[in-house]
């Protein structure tokens, strides 16, 4: 039996790493991945809780999160493609004008 | 010794099973290539491989040796790690996907460890299968990208796009079956198709069943099969490796063993898909005949004995000495096997499931080859529009139809 705390702590760690990536990566796509990483961390917490409490609701929420993540990825990557086309660069620090 | 075995059976038995399965699969792959060449050759009115061994039976062996002995050049400034990982990923996934497939109904106990025909019996085996297939993209895509070659890159892009597109159709086409079986476990899907005297009418393909809750999955099957072909990058969907356009697509820069891995992976996934089709739509190991026709259990013998005999007489008049010895030998073995089956009912019963299963799978594999021999390749845009505008809607329609029908039957 693995204590729930292990899972929760792991998810916290992953979330923190996600934040770090989010702040420190310069490549838009990678930053996007960082967001996905954070979402995954949250999912882990969800599942852990739902298992611990013996309710399946948490897992349903995970499904929702995944769906939202998919939608987000679709739109986000579209945006990224447009940005890259217009800016000729994926470095967020070079994309600092409030227009494309 | 024995208690050691009993203690670690849960470890040993699966390992042994895996080893056996892998060996079998590799051999089958090898001879699948032989078969493919032969069939296509005959379709094109050629002889095909004929030199190495009688009827070119040793050709696969030669190929294998060639693969191993060939030089393995490393192209300039490739992304090494990815370049090396890609084929491994592909092969690994291809082989892993076989793990969840049940080949027969039997359960048997070794050293007190209760097991069955097939590696793992997961109760979400279908999902697992899809999961693995889904990951299959990376091998191709990464290979294409890593090998720093525009053709490869294009191949990689194409294949990833293609695989994503057709995965949807693939998954959706199966939903109908799931609706009927109400279970992800392949084994129980097969069991659900067992409807006693209905025989092959009970298969999901035709969708008759005792409880009346069932709907013909012909549409689903065709969607599935086409999508599967696309997933396995076979003709007519083999754009990732379209020789005429992209040299050899994503594995242009690969040679010898790494190339072999892609090769083996491709054929393995063909086998997997065929198995899947068999299980989902063609009742797996179930006999097409009504259960009451017990005499059909002698079908294996009835096939083996004549074939063996024919092989003997045909082999005697073969050109080479080797052939004149080998072919009749094989023929004799087959004949004896058939006789043995006829004589020992126990063995015969045990062989029934695997016999039908392998038979159906073989049929599918042959169909694969047949199509390759027959059909031209799609154009890329045709491929996409076919996947999105035809397969996907049809699959969805199938789901709707099935669920509607089932609802109607339940109330």
């Amino acid at each position: 039996m693995v204590p729930t705390n292990y899972y929760l702590l792991l998810s916290a760690i992953l979330f923190g790493l996600g934040i770090v990536a989010f702040v420190f990566k310069r490549n838009i796509i990678t930053i996007f991945m960082a967001i996905e990483l954070m979402l995954n961390a949250v999912n882990l917490a969800f599942v852990a809780f739902s298992q611990a409490l013996g309710k399946a609701d948490g897992e349903v929420f995970v499904l929702f999160v995944i769906v939202v993540a998919a939608a987000e990825a679709a739109v986000g990557l579209g945006i990224i493609i447009v940005t890259a086309r217009n800016r000729k660069s994926l470095n967020v620090e070079r994309v600092d004008l409030l227009k494309l | 010794m024995s208690e050691f075995l009993t203690q670690y059976a849960f470890l040993i038995v699966p390992i042994v099973k895996i080893v056996i399965l892998v060996l079998i699969v590799l051999t089958v792959d090898a001879y699948l290539t032989w078969l493919e060449r032969k069939v296509i050759a005959h379709i094109q009115a050629r002889w095909g491989p004929y030199r190495v061994g009688p009827h070119g039976l040793l050709q696969p062996l030669a190929d294998g040796v060639k693969f191993i002995l060939k030089e393995d050049p490393l192209p300039a400034n490739v992304d090494k790690a990815t370049y090396f990982i890609a084929p491994f990923i592909t092969l690994m996934l291809a082989l892993t996907s076989l793990a969840v497939i049940p080949f027969g109904p039997q359960h048997f106990t070794i050293f007190g460890y209760e097991t069955h025909v097939g590696i793992a019996d997961v109760n979400i085996s279908l999902l697992v299968l899809f999961a693995i297939t889904a990951l299959g993209v990376y091998g191709v895509a990464l290979a294409g990208w890593a090998s720093n070659n525009k053709y490869s890159l294009l191949g990689g892009l194409r294949s990833s796009a293609q695989m994503i597109s057709y995965e949807l159709a693939l998954t959706l086409s199966v939903v109908g079956v799931l609706l009927i079986a109400c279970d992800f476990s392949l084994r129980s899907i097969i069991d659900h198709q067992e409807n006693g005297n209905l025989g092959l009418l009970g298969w999901n393909l035709f969708g008759f069943s005792k409880d009346g809750i069932g709907f013909t999955q012909i549409i689903g099957f065709f969607c599935f099969f086409l999508a599967a072909i696309a997933e396995t990058n076979r003709i007519p969907f083999d754009l990732p490796e379209a020789e005429s356009e992209l040299v050899a697509g994503y594995h242009t820069e690969y040679a010898s063993m790494k190339f072999a891995m892609f090769f083996i992976a491709e054929y393995t996934s063909m086998i997997t898909v065929s198995c899947l089709a068999t299980i989902l739509f063609f009742g797996g190991w179930l006999s097409p005949f009504p259960a009451s026709w017990t005499f059909t259990h002698y079908l294996p013998s009835l096939l083996l004995i004549p074939f063996g005999v024919w092989l003997i007489f045909d082999g005697i008049r073969y050109e080479t000495i080797f052939g004149r010895i080998l072919l009749p030998g094989v023929g004799a073995v087959l004949t004896l096997l058939g006789v043995a089956l006829a004589l020992f009912p126990v063995v015969n019963e045990a062989i029934q499931g695997p016999f039908w299963f392998l038979g159906k799978v073989f049929a599918f594999l042959f169909f694969y080859i047949w199509m390759r021999g027959t059909l031209p390749r799609f154009r890329y845009d045709q491929l996409m529009s076919f996947g999105w505008k035809l397969l996907l809607p049809v699959a969805i329609a199938n789901v709707v139809l099935t669920s509607a029908y089932i609802l109607w039957r339940m109330h």
């Binding site: 702040v23 967020v92 600092d96 | -």
Partner: protein
Amino acid sequence: MSILENLWIILLLPLLGSAVNGLFGSKWPNKAVNWVALGSTGLSFVCALEAVREFVAGGEQAFRKEFVGWMSAGSDFRIGLDLQFDQLTVVMVLVVTGVGFLIHIYSTGYMAHEGGYYRFFSYLNLFMFFMLTLVLAANYVVLFVGWEGVGLCSYLLIGFYFLRKSATDAGNKAFIVNRIGDFGFLLGMFLLFRTFHTLDFNGIFRQVSLLPRDTLGQFGTLTVASLLLFMGATGKSAQIPLYVWLPDAMEGPTPVSALIHAATMVTAGVYVVARSHVLYTHAPSAMYVVAVIGCATAFFAATIGLVQSDIKKVLAYSTVSQLGYMFLACGVGAFGAGIFHLMTHAFFKALLFLSAGSVIHAMGGEQDMWHMGGLRSKITVTYWCMLFGTIAIAGFPPFAAFFSKDAILFSAYNSGSNGKILYAVGLLAAVLTSFYMFRLIWLTFYGEKRYDEHRVHVHESPQNMTIPLMILAFLSLTGGWIALPALFGGKDYFAEFLSPIFGMGEVAGSESMQSLEHTLSLVAVVAATAGLLVAWRMYAKGAGRPKMEGFYKVLYNKYYVDELYGALVVGPLVWLSRNVLWKVLDDGVIDGAVNGIASISSAVGDTVRHTQSGNTRSYAVWVLVGALVVFAIIFWPILHPALFGVVR
């Protein structure tokens, strides 16, 4: 349904007419406009008559009703749309609607060829509405609404020919001067509310009647309040010192002058004083002030009237002086007499103005009397009506003003110690009145023609103008007979009718009083005759325009009062506005504040904008900070032991 129960109908009809005409009239032919305007006023006149009938039938019980709550604040401040109907109201309503109706008819003829026909009648109806509100009101606030409303309408109508600068100026002047008065009126209302915690007539008067009277020369709350109200009255009713707007108001069309600036609106002040007579009777000093101012105005305006050459100006000044008479009456406590004179004055002054209008109409817009003369034969009807009006105002028996003016002078004579002086001045004013009125007659209708026959084609006015004239002429002849018996020891029906409100004055029917009254009226008649003779002496054989010099010039320029006000009030005010309010306050403080805010925010933005670097990673960090704070807040309850644990 009884009108009395739904008094608001009387109000609403003119408002309706005004709205309809104002909104749709522009597209309509004059006939349609006439129908709406006359219909609404006529109907409201009928309703008024019906209401009076019911009132009389109901035993003359003062009727009062709150129709709809309006506003309320705090514990005791409740204002509703309260209307009341008592004897005083009867007189006012009849005068307003009746005379108003006649003047409407007249206007259809007079304004026929003017632009903005619908606009004129819309305004006129609106005026009717507000005037009726004023007289029907049962508390000071509703009354004030009417008060301001009529002010507005007068402004609009004075400036009716808004393309003429003089007209708009006159309008502004009227409005602004009235503002001063209204300011006083408002203060008075506030003071009343502060004292009695209600603005309802009955409520206030009931409480006041319990209070002791201030003695003469003592300035208690009541006195101050009364004086403030009277300040408003001086504004509205053109008394010294705020009379200056009325003569200029003659810029408006003549019917307007007749209706608003002679018959009805300008009497509002008198009405208010009469309505609040309880206050005044409790404040003798205020009364005294009213009397003095009234008397002074009567004389002062009359003197100016002597020399005016503009026919309407003459009438305007005579109006001012007649109003002075009314205030004199109120001041000496003869409210009944005041209202009586108000009524008769409404008749004959309307008559005079309308006749003057008819003359002007005949002369094709000429108003200077020195360019008239010998019109008697040309416009006979007008001549006779004018003559009736003149005799009436001059105070010859048996015409209306004889009785009313007589009553006023009589009660002035009997009032207190200084009564004799007031009486004397009043009498003098009477002489002057008859003088300048007959001067007007002779200059206008007798003597040789002083106009170019070829340019001016003199013609009698159409029926719809002359008929109202005749009616009014009849009224100004008979209007006073209601008080006829009083002269021969009988009782004064008018005073008696109003007695439930004012109570019978000190006029006891004793023998001595009787004889005194006879002598006084005789004296009045003699005085009027004197004025007549002087006028005949001077103007009968048409004198030329006199040359401007000496006292004549002063009078002609109205004692330079306008110039005086200009120098004393307007000039400094303008200077203050320009140099202090505009240059310092507006430019400096207000604009300064606005610009200051702008510059401050721009400075702040200049510093803050550096956070908006556009660098996504910085934004990410900001997001992170936010998240950190949120987490801290959420987790605080479970966390702080932990953190302390860490610290410890």
